[in-house]
C-alpha cells in the first residue's frame, strides 16, 4: 500500500470527524445527536407498538384504585433509593421525612398500597444518584438516549447501577421477580400518562428536541432543588439578541441603561 493511499484514508477519517464537529459546536448539550436520534425513534416505535397499546389495555382493565395502589406500592419499595441519596447529599431533614414515609406507608399504608404519608402531609422528596453526583459538581455531560430506558446524560446513567444497589428487594427477590415488578410499574406509569404523552407528541414541532430540552431542564432544576427563591441562572434567555439593538438607529448602546438612569 502506498503512503498516498494511507493519507487518503486518514484525510477521509479527518473529514468525517470534522464533519461531526460543527454538530458538536452548535448543538452544545447534544454532541451525540446522530447516535441518539435513531435510538430515540426506536424507543418511540417500541412505545407505539408495545408500551402504549399495553398501557391502554391496562388502563381499560384495571380500576383507578388498583393503578394508584400499584403506583404507591412501587413508590414505597423504591423509597430507600431516595433515602440513600438524601443521606449521600447530607440532607438530614429530607432523610427523616423519607424514613417517616417508608415507616408510615409500610405499616399504616398496608405494605405501601396506601399513601398515608401524603394524607398526613409528610413531604415527599425526589432524589437519585444522578442528582447526588450533580450536587457534588459533576456536570451532566452529553445527552444520551438509552435503548428502552429513554433520555439520560453521561452523568445520569450512573443512577441505574447505583440506585439498583440501594433498592432492598433486589437483594432478596430473584432477578426475574425484580424485573417483573419493574415491567408492571412501567405499564402502570405509562397508563397514567396516556393522554399527556399523546398531547405532547401532537403539540411538538420536533419531539426529539422537545424531550431533550425538557429532560435537561428538569434534571438541572432537580439537582439545584430550585425554588422561586433560587436565583435564575438562565437570565440571558430573557434578553433580546444583539441584532435587535443593532437595528435601532445609532443611539449607541446608551439606551440599554435607560432604566437605571431614571
Amino acid at each position: 500500500m502506498n503512503p498516498r493511499g494511507f493519507g487518503l484514508l486518514q484525510s477521509a477519517l479527518l473529514i468525517a470527524l470534522l464533519g461531526s464537529l460543527p454538530g458538536c459546536a452548535t448543538q452544545g448539550p447534544d454532541p451525540l445527536e446522530r447516535w441518539n436520534r435513531p435510538i430515540f425513534s426506536f424507543n418511540e416505535r417500541f412505545d407505539k407498538y408495545v408500551l402504549e397499546p399495553a398501557a391502554t389495555g391496562w388502563d381499560w382493565v384495571l380500576p383507578e384504585v388498583v393503578q394508584t395502589g400499584i403506583r404507591n406500592f412501587y413508590d414505597n419499595i423504591t423509597m430507600p433509593v431516595t433515602l440513600a441519596n438524601d443521606i449521600l447529599q447530607l440532607k438530614p431533614r429530607a432523610a427523616l421525612e423519607d424514613l417517616g414515609r417508608i415507616t408510615v406507608n409500610t405499616t399504616a399504608g398496608i405494605g405501601g398500597l396506601l399513601d398515608v404519608a401524603s394524607m398526613i402531609e409528610i413531604p415527599e422528596n425526589d432524589e437519585d444518584f444522578g442528582q447526588t453526583l450533580g450536587r457534588y459538581g459533576v456536570p451532566p455531560g452529553p445527552y444520551l438516549i438509552i435503548p428502552l430506558l429513554g433520555p439520560s446524560t453521561a452523568r445520569d446513567v450512573f443512577r441505574y447501577p447505583a440506585d439498583a444497589a440501594a433498592t432492598p428487594h433486589n437483594y432478596f427477590l430473584p432477578s426475574w421477580a425484580s424485573l417483573t415488578l419493574r415491567i408492571v410499574e412501567n405499564f402502570n406509569i405509562r397508563a397514567y400518562y396516556l393522554e399527556e404523552l399523546r398531547e405532547a407528541r401532537a403539540a411538538a414541532f420536533d419531539y426529539y428536541v422537545f424531550v431533550r430540552s425538557a429532560y435537561l431542564e428538569v434534571r438541572e432544576h432537580k439537582v439545584r432543588d430550585a425554588t422561586v427563591e433560587t436565583p435564575e441562572r438562565r437570565d440571558d434567555l430573557y434578553q433580546f439578541e444583539d441584532q435587535e439593538a443593532a437595528e435601532r438607529p445609532s443611539e449607541s448602546g446608551d439606551d440599554l441603561y435607560d432604566i437605571e438612569d431614571d
Binding site: D59, E199, E232, E241, E244, I259, D262
Partner: protein, 212 residues
Amino acid sequence: MTSTTSKTTRSPWLLRSAAALLGAALLATPGLAEDSPDAIVRKTVDRVLEILASKDESEDQRRHRIEEIAYDRFDFATISQLVLARHWSRFSPEQRQEFVEQFKIQLSKNYGTRIMRYNQQRVEIVGQRVEPRGDVTVGTRIEGGSADGVEVDYRLRRLDQEKDGPWMVIDVIIEGVSLVSNYRSQFSEILGRGSPDDLLRQLREKNAASPA
C-alpha cells in the same frame, strides 16, 4: 380516569355565594390601580379556576373565555421575540407579525386543551423573585388533583418596558421547564435548516390540524 365529579356538585349555593363574595371583594378594591405581579397572577389564576369549575357552560365556551384571559395577560410579541431569539432578525416585519399571530393561536390551542383537565385543584402563590433586569417571577404550586405539588412559575415584564406599563406574562416555567426555552430549541432546530417561511408553514399546518 376522571370519575371524581361527585364532590364538586355538593352545594352550588355555597359556591355561588363564595363567588359573589369574591366578586364583591374585587369590586371593592378598584383603587389598586397598580397591580403587583403576584396580585395579577393570583387574580388571573383565580379567574381561570373559576371558569374551569363552572358547570353551566360548554367546554368550548369555557375554553374561549380562558383564551381571552390569556390574550389579556400574555405579551405574545415579547414571547415570540424571545422564542425566535437570534433568528428574529431573519424575519421580515410581515413575517414577524404573522409569527406572533400564529404562535399565539398555537399556544392557546396547546395549553387550552391541557388546562381543561385540571379542574379540581387549588393554586397557591409560593413566593416571588425580582430578576436582575427588573422582570419578576411569581412562583405558584398546584394543590390537589392529578397535578398535585407541581410548581408553575410565571415570569412577568412590564409591557413595552414602559415605566407604568402593566405587568404581562412572558414565560411559564413548569417544574423548571421553560416554555420559551423549549420552543426556542425546537424552532432553532427548524430554522437551522430552513427559512422563516418553512417555520411559518409548519405553524400554520399545526394550527389547522389541532382540534377546536
